[in-house]
């Protein structure tokens, strides 16, 4: 306690000559930033940089638990790329990512625009309800949906059978259609969360421009396409990237819904699920690290593509303007 308080009281209590005060003040000014950064840097070193280095070393080893290992060169990576289970996991994860991004984000934008209209009462209440599932942790989402998705007794099949008489109450959400079940459960959990991002982005849409477009007789679609969309693109592309990154790392929900298994015919196996299985159930941390690097590379490519695409669209728009200017 006293050692913590000491630095704050020291400069006031000791009173050396004026010249040396300014020198010591200078010194403290150059040391102080590093004092503030030290805990963060130390933690990053131990828990990010060392493991990152470790992931590189590990990926060239075959391990049997955390204590023993054998150097195998690049054969883990060759193993991963020719591993049919890895490709099954990749395909499942890709389907899930595509499904969640393409269903969830347009819906989230839709609800954000609905709630952003003037003259709607109870906006705060609606926003709170739609947002609330994000507060429910993935374990609890899995507990709830595990019961809701059951074949005959589950509420979802019963409700669907009530609405559509032809619906089969034995619909096997958790066996044959696990990816569909995952997409729906994730939609429930994160739609409102993404809606909040889009709501924030919609505040950047210039009102005057929208009014002017209306005056000029631009219809709803034209105003959306040429006024709203460009204004929300910076946040929008960020949300798309975040969604892709998050969806690509899906693991806990299928792991919990399938009670630790990978489902019928491995239909519920995801890439991170496979990483967990090899690393922590079979004990080969080396092979797991090679899978980890593969994920990192895929996500880096996605992030790079996103930058390239957004930069490309700006360039082409700029190019058009320049050409238009040249023609005049």
């Amino acid at each position: 306690m006293s050692s913590l308080a000491a630095p704050a009281t020291l400069p006031g209590s000791s009173s050396p000559a004026p010249a040396s005060t300014s020198a010591s003040a200078d010194r403290s000014r150059s040391v102080f930033p590093w004092l503030l950064l030290a805990p963060f840097l130390l933690l990053v070193l131990v828990f990010t940089i060392v493991p990152l280095f470790g992931a590189t070393v590990l990926s060239t080893q075959q391990t049997f638990g955390p204590g023993t290992s054998r150097f195998v060169g690049l054969s883990n990576f060759r193993g991963v790329l020719s591993d049919p289970l890895f490709w099954t996991a990749f395909k499942n994860t890709f389907v899930f990512t595509l499904g969640s991004v393409c269903v969830q984000l347009p819906l989230a934008l839709c609800f954000a625009m609905l709630l952003n209209q003037p003259g709607i009462r109870g906006k705060t209440f609606f926003r709170l309800i739609l947002f609330s599932p994000v507060l429910v942790g993935v374990v609890y989402v899995a507990m709830i949906f595990f019961v809701l998705f059951q074949k005959r007794t589950g509420l979802i099949n019963q409700l669907l059978a009530g609405i559509l008489p032809s619906w089969d109450v034995g619909f096997a959400w958790l066996d044959q259609y696990i990816m569909l079940a995952l997409i729906l459960a994730t939609l429930w959990q994160y739609m409102g969360f993404n809606m909040v991002y889009f709501l924030a982005a919609l505040q950047n849409v210039p009102k005057e421009l929208n009014e002017a477009a209306k005056m000029d007789g631009a219809n709803w679609w034209k105003r959306f396409r040429h006024v709203t969309l460009p204004a929300i693109t910076p946040v929008g592309s960020f949300v798309v990237l975040l969604s892709i990154i998050g969806s690509f790392q899906v693991f806990e929900l299928p792991f919990l819904l399938l009670q630790g298994s990978t489902g019928v015919d491995n239909k519920g196996l995801t890439i991170v699920g496979y990483l967990y299985q090899t690393g922590f159930q079979s004990g080969d941390l080396g092979y797991a690290s090679a899978i980890g690097w593969t994920i990192a590379i895929v996500l880096a490519v996605c992030a790079g593509l996103q930058r390239l695409l957004s930069a490309g669209s700006e360039v082409s728009r700029g190019g058009k303007v320049a050409r238009g200017g040249g023609a005049k």
Binding site: P33, L37, P133, I144, V196
Partner: protein, 280 residues
């Protein structure tokens, strides 16, 4: 009312019902006996008010949860882990973020790049080697093994850097320096109070993410008496696989405290979540 507003309500109200349905169902399920669990999708029918057998609802599931399982101990573990991690992470990230935003020193660019680089490293990549690091530091199966890796998130440093840039004016810091304030006092007494909205938001976000985290305690902890709620509730499914009422009561009680807290503080929470996106 305008037709456009009516059309909006026609879409938004059903959507809210669909979103709220699983949570309403959960609340009712936790109050039902095992006999009623599958015979009625929602409240059991009977002769009571509104044609519902209110007297068939029971608190037995909650009693069993507290007496048969380690719920109370796990609740304590979760509260401890979440509050300690949230407090330390906020202090460490606020200090680092402030330094990167407002102080001048050699190597600042390098550290800023490091923060941005850490942001793009996917978590699963560090899962196995992180486990090895904890093994070598003898931190497996300890709370420290969960707290230490979680209190220096680059994401938090980035958020506090952005917050400092937008809400701590450099002139104010310069004025305090002129008055002979020590650098520590300037940070503690001038900058931190101005960062208070971000501090609230970030503490909430961190608390929630630790409370809901499953994979880290699942990998790091081995002894059942240390399990936080997320791991303990997930295991109810293996141990009491037929007692759905008990599982739903456990789920209900695990969500309720944090969800309640966040409903109360939702303004701060939402502002904090979106600030990084909007300003970045």
């Amino acid at each position: 009312m305008k037709p456009r507003a009516i059309a909006t309500y026609c879409i938004v109200v059903p959507a809210c019902i669909v979103i709220a349905l699983p949570l309403v169902w959960l609340l009712i399920a936790s109050l039902k006996s095992s006999e009623d669990f599958f015979t009625s999708p929602f409240l059991p029918r009977g002769d009571g008010f509104l044609g519902i057998a209110w007297d068939r609802l029971t608190l037995d599931n909650f009693r069993n949860l507290l007496s048969k399982t380690g719920f109370a101990r796990s609740l304590l573990a979760s509260s401890l882990l979440a509050s300690v991690t949230a407090t330390l992470a906020t202090l460490i990230c606020a200090a680092a973020g402030y330094a990167l935003a407002r102080l001048h020193f050699r190597g600042k660019r390098g550290v800023t790049w490091l923060v941005l680089a850490c942001l793009i490293i996917p978590g699963p990549l560090l899962l196995s080697p992180g486990f090895q690091v904890l093994y070598h530091l003898s931190l497996l199966d300890t709370f420290m093994g969960l707290i230490l890796p979680a209190i220096g998130p680059a994401f938090g440093v980035y958020l506090f850097r952005q917050a400092t840039v937008s809400s701590v004016p450099p002139e104010l810091l310069e004025a305090a320096r002129m008055d002979g304030c020590s650098e520590f006092r300037i940070f503690w007494r001038v900058a931190l109070p101005l960062l208070q909205p971000m501090i609230a938001a970030f503490m909430l976000i961190t608390f929630l993410s630790v409370w809901n985290n499953f994979i880290n305690p699942q990998v790091v902890l081995q002894s059942a008496e240390k399990f936080p709620l997320a791991v303990m509730i997930a295991q109810l499914k293996d141990v009491y696989s037929q007692d759905y009422g008990l599982m739903m009561a456990g789920t209900m009680l695990s969500i309720l405290p944090v969800a309640g807290l966040f409903m109360l503080l939702q303004r701060d929470f939402v502002a904090g979540l979106t600030s990084g996106a909007v300003k970045g």
